[in-house]
Amino acid sequence: MNASTAVTVEGFVAESLVTHGRDPRHLLQHLIRVQQRFSCVPDAAVEALSAALDVTRTQVRAAIAFYAFLHERPRGAFEIRFSDNITDRMLGSRRLIRLLIERLELSGLPAWGRDLIRDDGRVSVGLASCTGMCDQGPALLVNGQAVTNLDAQRVDRIADLVQEGIPLERWPGEFFRVENNIRRHGLLLSNPANDGAALHRLIDEGADDALAEVERSGLRGRGGAGFTTAIKWRFCREAPGIDRYVVCNADEGEPGTFKDRVLLTDYADLVIEGMTVCAGVIGARRGFLYLRGEYRYLLPHLESVLQRRRAEGLLGTMILGRDGFDFDIEIHLGAGAYICGEESALIESLEGKRGVTRKRPPFPVTSGFDDQPTVVNNVETFLAAARVVQWGGYWLRGEGTDQSAGSKILSVSGDCAWPGIYEYPFGTPVHQVLSDCGAENTQAVQISGAAGATLSPADFDRIIAFEDLPTAGSFMIFDDSRDLLDMVRNFAAFFAHESCGFCTPCRVGGALLRNLVEKVAAGQGSEYDLSEMRHIGAVMRQASYCGLGHTAPNHVLNTLDKFPQIYRRRLEREAHTPSFDLDSALSEARALTGRDDIGAHIRAQIPEGSEVSA
């Protein structure tokens, strides 16, 4: 790095510090800005931030190494990341990656954590976990901006634009078009209009009344876990603390989920209104919207909504003229870490640290951001809460089941005619969704994302509800032409990549599981390996520290039970096979000695009693 660049980096950091403050909790936000500007976080920035924020350079580096979108060494001026969810793969992403690599004269294939960087620094190609464009994939991110609906032609054009060095602002606008694809409107989606009605009701009737309505509605968290919203709000309200915080979890990282993206696009006012109502109920003055890095393109839109609402008196100081009702929201960006969807990891990330799950208890409601009482709710939950306060708890209860009031917004993708957003009353059976979205010959549905459950046709009469099939909203469909092992491989690699590494079972077990899945997929597995997969999966499920580790083996365990043939048809005949390919293990020695005689090879195991003929 030459001196003139170093000055620029330091200058940029200094400016960022002036604009965004020297709170150590803003470390991650500073890093994201530096990364965005310089395609990496140069040493000079590490030093400058370390000095300014009272964090060690090691802590800065540790944060960079944790988040997939931050790097110490430069990526390309065009940093391209293909979304690598199974749904992208089903839409042909692998072929398109190869095509782009060929056009850009790169060699090899990118893997998670391994980007291809062209020598001239012009471009790099890597992978990203699901970018939330499953209904309009294959998708990629270029310098953080989402490009959808990739096909050979579009990839070809992207290669041209990169070769010619055309800045992103001059790329065709349709590349960046993101559709909402709302296919079925229910309780929440029917009416995006918002005029601050919930806030008016809050002001008119008081916080107790608003909380009572949320209680009456039976609203439960839409992020998947289903904790009763009113109880969460009440706990937080009653917990001792100096400050209180409202956090909207918009880190929609679960593969196959994209409904929050749509809600933040077309229903942002209602989401923010829900947050503001929550602030009024619990007595918070500050809130955060934690937006996953993949959705950074929504930032200007969301900032403008916040700005407009401030101007309209719906946010900021003296909301709706009420003395003492002050609440404002900052948007914090994520930087490529699935674990940050877990509420305590999200709070760590909000505080600028590596997104490692906190020990619980204490739960965020008593000790969250800055160790103060904090409500963390999903985007959809805040949206529903705003409507509940506006229209009353009974309105939500009008739909759904006893234990699951209201509706659920599903992100439907995979093998169906009309992928997109579908809102259903809780209690809707799976087959109804399949028929509405035009799915045929369905072999399996992966519900609630990679961490969720794999459903076989025997499950299609089951209902979407907390008491039967709880879901954060991901609904990925696989027809009978698919090899489900491709899904398992994708998810196993995903979890190994996304484990935060804090606890042993998830950190090590996830990697062991991925390796075994790959071994079986390569046709080198045995019955013993399947029993090992069950064993490791069981240990992860029962012994991991947080939900990520508990749910990470689900897809393997579910498919071993329901779709054993996807494994069995690839097994070797032996009960046990080596953990590595024996003949390949002599490759280096062969190269070093120049030998290729019969003794320089190891034959695959020959089952007893069977002789091979030449």
């Binding site: 590595f580 002599l586 280096e588 020695a589 070093l592 120049g594 030998r595 003794g599 320089a600 190891i602």
Partner: protein
């Protein structure tokens, strides 16, 4: 007369220390000879392996010949035991996994101090080294493990007598150690 169980042993990539420890059972070896018949083992110098009840493997898997011997033992032995640290987790030889094979061979045969006639041996008689050293359970299924570097004579004795008498194998605390 009932035929005595047949026992075979081999040392793969190890130091023969586990075999020495087996000999350390001292006079109990006479009892052992009453209990079992030795098949292929360095102790008898029998070179070919017949059908056996028990195979004891010392050492990890470091080259093509180790693989061949180990697979033959697995085929011929009803019960196969990993004996000692190298068989159990690769042991000291697996410390070469910190380096590439090329690095190791160049250091040993080309660039190391005191090397004459530098050159990596390539005689077909010499088994090729694997890229890494592996514990034996990564190549074949094993039935029991006996840790230690080496396992003590007492541990080996406990193991053999309990196994041969068909009892569940339980070691006193002091007999189990990884070093």
């Amino acid at each position: 007369m009932v035929e005595k169980p047949r026992v075979a042993t081999a040392s793969l990539c190890g130091c023969f220390g586990c075999h020495m420890s087996l000999l350390d059972i001292d006079e109990r070896i006479l009892q052992l000879v009453d209990l079992v018949t030795f098949d292929r083992t360095p102790l008898t110098d029998i070179k070919t392996l017949g059908d056996c009840d028990l195979g004891l493997i010392e050492g990890g898997v470091a080259n093509a010949e180790n693989v061949e011997v180990l697979r033959e033992f697995r085929r011929c032995c009803k019960t196969l035991v990993a004996v000692g640290a190298c068989a159990v987790n690769g042991g000291i030889p697996a410390m070469r996994n910190q380096f590439g094979l090329a690095e190791c061979l160049r250091e040993s045969y080309c660039e190391g101090i005191g090397v004459h006639n530098p050159g990596i041996p390539n005689d077909p008689e010499i088994p090729l080294l694997l890229n890494q050293v592996h514990p034996i359970h990564e190549v074949v299924a094993i039935d029991y493990v006996l840790p230690g570097c080496p396992p003590s004579a007492d541990a080996i004795w406990t193991f053999l007598t309990e196994l041969l008498e068909g009892r569940p194998i339980a070691f006193p605390y002091t007999q189990i150690h990884f070093d």
